[in-house]
């Protein structure tokens, strides 16, 4: 006679569907780390597949892996693997999914990468226009001259 084990809520599986259609089966307690997903579950209890419209499969995979593995060592190594574009997309994904640990980790990682760079580099990386007037720019450059010692070459 087959024993029917009632499934404990921690081993219930959910499916997440990324914006490019890739499907991921995850345990409920992993999915709950994403507060956005948690809210979705709270609203519609019996849902099996949850759409994640803003996040590509490739990034959702990384996010899920992060949640599973996160600890001090993993965090330290995690951010080294990704280029700046991926880091930014991952941050947007983490913001959308509302995963505070990952948000913090990524913000720190991006900050670390731009710490020693010039304003020109930062504008390029984040696609921002310089909207300072020439007088303002000159004034700021003079006031913060000391902060420009030792800037990385772009």
């Amino acid at each position: 006679m087959a024993e029917e084990k009632s499934q404990a809520s921690s081993s219930k599986m959910l499916t997440l569907k990324a914006s490019d259609g890739v499907l991921f089966e995850v345990e409920l307690n992993i999915a709950k780390e994403m507060k956005t997903v948690q809210a979705y579950i709270d609203d519609c209890e019996d849902i099996e597949t949850i759409p994640i419209p803003n996040v590509l499969g490739k990034h959702l995979a990384i996010v899920i892996e992060y949640i599973k593995k996160t600890n001090e060592e993993y965090d330290a190594e995690f951010e080294k693997q990704w280029n700046m574009d991926d880091l930014q997309l991952l941050l947007l994904a983490a913001n959308y999914l509302n995963i505070s640990g990952l948000q913090e980790c990524l913000c720190k990682a991006i900050a670390k990468r731009i710490e020693n760079k010039s304003p020109e580099y930062v504008r390029k990386v984040f696609n921002i226009e310089n909207d300072h007037s020439p007088e303002e720019e000159a004034k700021l450059r003079k006031e913060y001259k000391w902060a420009f010692e030792g800037v990385d070459k772009d």
């Binding site: 304003p119 300072h132 000391w146 902060a147």
Partner: protein, 398 residues
């Protein structure tokens, strides 16, 4: 890739203050949000407990009055992202003695010999300062600045607040022969000095107040090691005395036997420093003891607070450090400190400052940081640049 202001706000709040100042040039909105007090508070909060990236060095307390010199140097690899404006450093150099620093705030006292002694807390990056009313005991005219026992503590949770501790010596004949210290605490937010009910009893020895260690809710001070007690006295050997900041109890903490076996001695250079770090995953803080003897640096860490058990973790002979000095190092003129919870031992010879990594017993990587002009036995105060506010009464520095 467009970046919303909110996201930029978050990212920038993890940058050291020097980088933030530089990146104000990126665009108008970055320059704007970096001025907001919510941003500054967040940045100071995020950088709390992060490794310090530079340190102040100045001549020993008694010489600061004449020499009027404060230098700030960055640790190896941190030159690009740390530092303060030159004009602020010059100002401090000419008119103040740096006493302590915490989360980007610096506690100083003025050194204009003819004027009254004034205390202030400043943030060199935001160029703001806030004066602290001088307690009566310090209002005498000082010609040398020894015995000003002041410490600064900033907490992570109250961004507008800071605490300054003062230990006033009282030659109290009623309680004699023991000297005791009255501990007064200044609360930055409230703007008043409060006196702790119970005094600090440091035992019989003279205490070394310029390297206090805050740990376990108490401030720990190490004694000197002069030869002025007989063998039967409980204070024969040097020790640490802790003062609990909640209830004012004074407790003696024994030093490792190996460290004190040659004490009391005419000359013995020992210091205590914070050891270990707090991360979001663990809390391994403790105290370390560094002893510089005639020939070597030795470091012990306190493994168990209750039982005062120490473990030796590091030893290096001065001659094995490979220092390129013109003459032999005069060990009696060396000053040192441990930074960042035991990552680095930073020490100075007559003219140069070096750092030695402590994380690997086998490869003691020693780097020369810079030259200095602060004379023998200079004082080190580590610093990291944040935008933390000086609280109420903050004004702009001249």
């Amino acid at each position: 890739m467009e970046l919303s202001n909110n996201v930029a706000f978050e990212i920038f709040s993890w940058l050291p203050a020097k980088s933030i100042c530089k990146l104000k040039l990126t665009c108008e909105s970055f320059s704007e949000f970096s001025k907001e007090s919510t941003f500054k508070t967040k940045q100071a909060h995020n950088l709390f407990g992060r490794d310090d990236t530079c340190f102040f060095i100045q001549p020993e307390q008694t010489r600061q009055g004449f020499e009027k010199r404060v230098e700030l140097h960055s640790l190896p690899k941190e030159q690009q992202s740390s530092g303060i404006p030159k004009n602020v450093l010059t100002f401090l150099s000419n008119s103040a003695c740096v006493l302590a620093s915490s989360n980007g705030l610096v506690l100083c006292h003025t050194i204009n010999n003819n004027d009254k002694l004034e205390l202030f807390v400043c943030n060199p990056i935001t160029k703001s300062w806030s004066f602290i009313p001088t307690p009566e005991s310090l209002q005498i005219n000082y010609s040398n600045f020894a015995n000003i026992n002041l410490m600064l503590d900033c907490s992570r949770d109250s961004p507008d607040d800071f605490l300054v501790f003062l230990f006033e010596n009282t030659m109290d004949y009623y309680f004699s022969p023991k000297t005791s210290y009255i501990c007064k605490v200044y609360h930055g937010k409230e703007g008043v000095w409060k006196t702790m009910e119970r005094r600090f009893f440091p035992g019989g020895r003279n205490m070394n107040f310029d390297m206090p260690v805050f740990h376990n809710g108490a401030v720990h001070i190490i004694s000197d090691s002069g030869d002025y007690f007989g063998k039967s006295s409980p204070f024969y050997k040097p020790y640490i005395m802790s003062y609990n900041l909640e209830d004012g109890t004074s407790t003696m903490l024994e030093l490792p036997r190996e460290a004190t076996k040659d004490c009391p001695a005419v000359w013995c250079n020992m210091g205590i420093f914070n050891w270990g770090k707090v991360t979001s995953y663990s809390n391994h803080r403790s105290i370390c003891l560094v002893k510089l003897s005639k020939s070597a640096f030795t470091i012990w860490i306190l493994k168990d607070y209750e039982s005062a058990s120490w473990k030796k973790v590091f030893k290096v002979r001065v001659k094995d450090l490979g220092l390129k000095e013109e003459k032999d190092v005069d060990v009696e003129r060396v000053g040192f400190t441990v930074m960042n919870g035991g990552d680095l031992l930073v020490f100075s010879t007559e003219n140069k400052i070096y750092s030695c990594r402590l994380d690997d017993e086998r490869f003691k990587m020693v780097e020369e940081i810079c030259k200095h002009n602060c004379g023998p036995n200079p004082r080190f105060i580590s610093y990291s640049d944040t935008l933390r506010s000086c609280g109420i009464n903050a004004q702009t520095m001249p």
